[in-house]
């Protein structure tokens, strides 16, 4: 997968406003390689962080459910 294709996938994946997504996708062909790498790295880090936070929330909920079940 080329960095540009990967960036397109990430823009569509992260929870940006629809207008922001549209604007980013429209400006994608004009972006230079450095900008693609910079934005792609930021969005990748954001998505990974979001998944980590969600995973922690799920673990916390599971622990509470177990505690609630025991009580």
């Amino acid at each position: 997968m080329s960095p540009r294709d990967a960036l397109k996938v990430l823009i569509e994946e992260v929870d940006l406003e629809p207008e922001q997504k549209k604007a980013l996708l429209a400006s994608l062909p004009e972006m230079d390689d450095a900008a693609v790498m910079e934005l792609g790295t930021a969005l990748a880090a954001y998505r990974v962080n979001q998944a980590r936070v969600a995973q922690r929330a799920v673990s916390a909920i599971d622990e509470l459910m177990v505690a609630g079940g025991q009580a």
């Binding site: 997968m1 960095p3 990967a6 996938v9 990430l10 790498m37 792609g40 990748a44 969600a54």
Partner: protein, 192 residues
């Protein structure tokens, strides 16, 4: 001398104003990020219903504690029944004002939100009120009414809890296509 002091004061004011604006911008960015993250949860009807049920359960539990004391119990039952009556009246007025043959939009108004036992019928509540008055506030009727509502609300809270878990679990899973895209930019630190 005087001019220098004034200039110095103006500069420090300008600096503190700039710092305040910067702090506000940073707070605003944090708030927006938090709001965006909370949006899938807050927009979910099951979670909204469960949150309301949780607040109601807490308030009903507090009122049940108050009901243990005869004088306070009578006041709490009376106020709860009055609020229920107002809520019912508001619902009827809304129904009258709705266009003929059309149902109301189903949104709760301020008065309807005040009713802490919406699943208990008004006539049941009035019956409890009568019993409480007959017993001079000795019978814990508000607690019984609260327990009847809790019986409906606790499953709602439980459903909301499970729904929150479902939403978080969906966010925690990264689709293979997205994982491939992440690997392009951070091949070493992308794994969750």
């Amino acid at each position: 001398m005087e001019g220098n002091r004034e200039r110095g004061m103006m500069e420090s004011m300008d600096l503190s104003l700039r710092e305040s604006i910067k702090a506000y911008d940073s707070f605003r960015a944090e708030y927006d990020a938090l709001a965006r993250r909370a949006e899938p949860y807050l927009n979910d009807p099951t979670v909204t219903e469960g949150s309301k049920a949780a607040v109601r359960t807490a308030l009903n539990a507090a009122l049940a504690c108050g009901d243990m004391f005869p004088g306070v119990g009578l006041a709490s039952t009376l106020s709860a029944t009055t609020l229920k009556g107002l809520s019912k009246a508001d619902k009827i007025l809304k129904w009258f004002h709705a266009p003929f043959g059309k149902k109301t939009d189903g949104k709760s108004t301020g008065f309807q939100m005040l009713d802490l036992t919406p699943d208990v019928k008004l006539r049941t509540s009035l019956g409890f009120q009568l019993l409480e008055l007959c017993s001079a506030g000795m019978l814990p009727m508000r607690t019984i009414e609260g327990l009847m509502q809790m019986n409906k609300d606790v499953p709602r809270v439980w459903r909301a809890y499970k729904r929150i878990r479902e939403i978080a679990a969906a966010e925690a899973v990264i689709a293979p296509k997205v994982q491939n895209a992440i690997d392009v930019f951070s091949p070493d630190g992308g794994a969750v």
